[in-house]
Symmetry: C2
Subunit: 219 residues, 2 copies
């Protein structure tokens, strides 16, 4: 450990600079993310930048990798507590919207970075990969939840997952320009009502008969 201390410093610098970049990006937009601004924000000398990153594109790769990966972790996460499909879908969509509402500037910056990534080959690959990963994750959670509650979809779940992603993205994007909470929540309500028409509760659900016996709070 004592010998690797110098190397560890190098990796820590990278993380430090990435975090500083995210801060600048969030507050002032992607255009404001310059090597000078980032290093100044991190309290490091300007020269340290090209000591940690090959180029600015390299930095953006690191940012995209870290932040998009972070977004994936809690995507349409499983059961929570078994509720009817419509409410479950609404909850999933609402979770994402709530994140955006809580940190609008951050997600605005992320959106900026996403569209920007398509201009660069390397960044584009990364963005596509993350998107695919995200779809897999949502599909996985959707499957898990459907199996647990004994639900069947009138279409393959990857397709349903893609639809849910498009919906949450679209609603979030719309909120970002309008900042209209009521309208966004109405969209979610309608979306949940719509999408739930694709699901049919199969008769195999043994655990939950006509009346669900959920111990605890039942509203």
């Amino acid at each position: 450990m004592a010998e690797t201390r110098e190397h560890r410093s190098h990796d820590e610098r990278r993380r430090q600079l990435v975090d500083a970049s995210v801060a600048v990006m969030t507050e002032q937009g992607v255009a404001a993310v310059t090597t000078r601004a980032v290093t100044a924000r991190a309290g490091l000398p300007h020269g340290s930048f090209h000591y940690c990153f090959d180029s600015k594109a390299d930095l953006f790769c690191a940012i995209l990798e870290q932040e998009l990966g972070r977004s994936i972790v809690a995507a349409f996460e499983p059961p929570a507590t078994p509720v009817d499909p419509e409410e479950r879908i609404a909850a999933g969509l609402r979770a994402r919207l709530d994140q955006v509402i809580a940190r609008p500037d951050y997600f605005l910056a992320l959106a900026e970075l996403s569209v920007l990534s398509h201009r660069d080959a390397e960044l584009g690959r990364l963005a596509r990969w993350e998107q695919a990963e995200y779809l897999r994750e949502v599909t996985r959670n959707l499957d898990e939840w459907s199996r647990a509650d004994g639900l069947e979809w009138s279409a393959p779940t990857p397709g349903v997952a893609a639809l849910l992603i498009a919906l949450s993205d679209g609603i979030a994007a719309s909120w970002l320009v309008e900042r209209n909470d009521a309208a966004a929540h109405e969209s979610i309500r309608l979306a949940a009502a719509s999408v739930s028409s694709l699901v049919s509760t199969s008769s195999t659900s043994i655990t939950s008969p006509t009346t669900t016996t959920t111990p605890g709070g039942a509203s």
Copy 2:
């Protein structure tokens, strides 16, 4: 008229530069839209830029105004030929996707410009206004179409229109990163099936009984 000839030249220059900007933006991204690149593209001297625009932000305003306005014109346009709700919704969503597929780089640039606009107060106002205008247009067309076919929605049409916009935006955005035609069309299929569950054909539709008599090709 003879007296205003000089002024007309000025306005024509503006349009000329805006068009050049859109071209550059489409081919190389918003970041490449510099005063020099734009004037060069337009075949004009660099100095002519600040002769037509107060600043670069002023140019972006003009671009946003022109291009977003252009997007609105054909938004979920009315009847076409009366078909069932699900097919009609799918057609509306498909129309937008087809536009994006036909000119991906253009819409990518437009997306770039949209997210970028939120960093500037003036541009933000413009983007919001255009978005509201777009919602009004879709709602208007939705109302018209529904009335013509005697349809009733289980929710106010502005809410439905907002959902449709979010859907088409989300699906288009998803396509822009994946470039997966099949997946996008599957999303549209599912979306149309979902949303059509919100509509109930009222008994007032006299023109179209159980079997529609459409002259011409009936596949």
